[in-house]
């Protein structure tokens, strides 16, 4: 959803696992829940596929926010992918502020294929937060043109 004042969309990158969160986003779509349009989804086989460097690369390339979502812990399609993801992503979330990136710009969560409603709430809340934070101020020299 474009910001009302600036009429501008934020750039939010989402990494969703194929089995749960991508399905959840699909459920939200099929159920015609109203959702902001700032998020660009990248489908990955499993949240365990998400290298923390994917997030870093997105942020350094000018993304305003990054959202990672996978199956709930203990529900991973591959049994344990999201357990590894949880450790890595938590490490990253704690590390980002150290280099001056607000950790609110990165969020990771768990959404199952049936949780269309939860997906809608997650995307709405995260997008709202990113709009409140505004576009990255620190990226003049790192930014690609909008």
């Amino acid at each position: 959803m474009p910001d009302i004042e600036t009429n501008r969309e934020m750039r939010i990158v989402g990494f969703l696992c194929n089995w749960c969160s991508y399905g959840g986003a699909d459920t939200a779509g099929v159920s015609r829940f109203k959702q902001p349009t700032d998020l660009r989804v990248v489908r990955v086989p499993c949240s365990g596929r998400v290298d923390p460097l994917f997030v870093v690369k997105a942020l350094l390339s000018g993304a305003d926010g990054v959202l990672v979502s996978g199956c709930h812990p203990r529900d991973c399609h591959y049994s344990e992918g999201n357990f590894y993801a949880r450790r890595r992503l938590e490490m990253l979330k704690r590390f980002l502020p150290f280099i001056g990136i607000d950790d609110r710009r990165f969020h990771y969560t768990w959404v199952s294929a049936s949780e269309g409603q939860k997906w809608q709430q997650t995307v709405t809340a995260f997008t709202k937060e990113i709009h409140e934070l505004g576009p990255r101020q620190d990226k003049e020299e790192i930014l690609v043109e909008r």
Binding site: R87, I99, G100, D102, I142
Partner: protein, 317 residues
């Protein structure tokens, strides 16, 4: 650091290995050099003093032969980490431990003598005596040692087959190990950003930090240089420099033993160790893990617990 004891230990070990990796005099009086010894003649040239700064375990992952290696306390942690990850086989390495009271930072010594040509270096107790054309200068070892020595918790190697010399008790304040990280964290986010832009902006992308790192083992397939996937371009922009250092730091998450080789190798004096120390601080808090202290342990990001006690789910407002 007793060189005679070390030499006799090396002579004893030499017949059972293909080479011994130790230190000898380098190209100028201020520099020691790693040396690979295959016969006894070279053993005489071995040295052991605070100039022996290199982490010799960096050579081990690529080493095909059975070798013996001289390790200080900090180096032994790197070796333990390499063993943990199966990057070095225990049966292929003989560990000669040397208790250490601190090394010097060549950069600091050079700065202390005004970058004059050093004619000779001598060590007396905790003093470093540097002779230059303009005279002799006595420096305290603690004033010219790298930051890691000031808070060293492991002056005696944690793992060794032979220990040369008496163990050194760790007497440095343990609660100050991460003080430098906390100093950065006391800044605001934009200040931190500016700090890293200034520091990393100096990077010349020589990759010396990566090459010196004992735990950077990808060699030719390092993703900083591959074209497929193309993670980074060759541009010398701040973004690419930052990306490179984040690749290094994140690939060392839960593995870095804080040996300080990246900082030592850096020609631009960038405090690269800080990035890794910050992650280590979090690893300690989240998983109670300290890299390279227990050979039977497993790096925290190589494993998991179904119920993570210390990771709480993040809620959006």
């Amino acid at each position: 650091m007793n060189v005679e004891k070390l030499k006799s230990a090396v002579r004893e070990v030499l017949p059972s290995v293909d080479a011994v990796i130790g230190y000898c005099n380098g190209s100028d009086p201020l520099r020691a050099e790693p040396c690979f010894m295959k016969d006894e003649k070279l053993v005489e040239e071995m040295i052991l003093n605070p100039l022996c700064v290199h982490n010799l375990t960096s050579y081990l992952p690529a080493e095909k032969r059975r070798v013996a290696v001289v390790v200080k306390g900090c180096d032994s942690r790197s070796l333990i980490q390499l063993l943990q990850e199966g990057l070095v086989k225990r049966e292929n390495v003989v560990i000669i431990g040397v208790p250490c009271r601190g090394v010097v930072s060549v950069k600091k010594v050079r700065a202390a003598v005004g970058h004059e040509k050093v004619l000779s270096v001598a060590f007396e107790g905790d003093a470093v005596i540097i002779k230059t054309a303009s005279g002799e200068k006595e420096l305290a070892l603690s004033d010219v040692s790298p930051a890691k020595c000031a808070t060293c918790q492991y002056p005696t190697p944690l793992l060794y087959d032979v220990l040369t010399g008496d163990p050194v008790e760790p007497g440095k304040p343990a609660d100050q190990v991460y003080d430098d990280v906390r100093k950065i964290e006391s800044m605001s986010l934009p200040e931190r950003r500016a700090y890293w832009e200034k520091e990393l902006g100096r990077c010349v992308r020589c990759y010396a930090c990566r090459n010196a790192c004992p735990l950077c083992v990808c060699t030719e397939s390092c993703i900083a240089e591959t074209r497929e996937p193309h993670w980074m371009s060759q541009k010398a922009t701040e973004r690419e420099k930052m990306m490179f250092h984040l690749i290094h730091a994140l690939h060392l998450a839960g593995r870095c033993t804080e040996c300080g080789e990246c900082e030592r190798a850096c020609p631009m004096n960038i405090p690269l160790g800080l990035l890794k120390k910050k992650i280590n601080m979090e690893m300690l808090e989240l998983f109670g893990y300290k890299a390279g202290t227990d050979p039977t342990d497993k790096p925290p990001l190589f494993t998991f617990r179904p119920d993570e006690e210390r990771i709480e789910e993040h809620k959006l407002p």
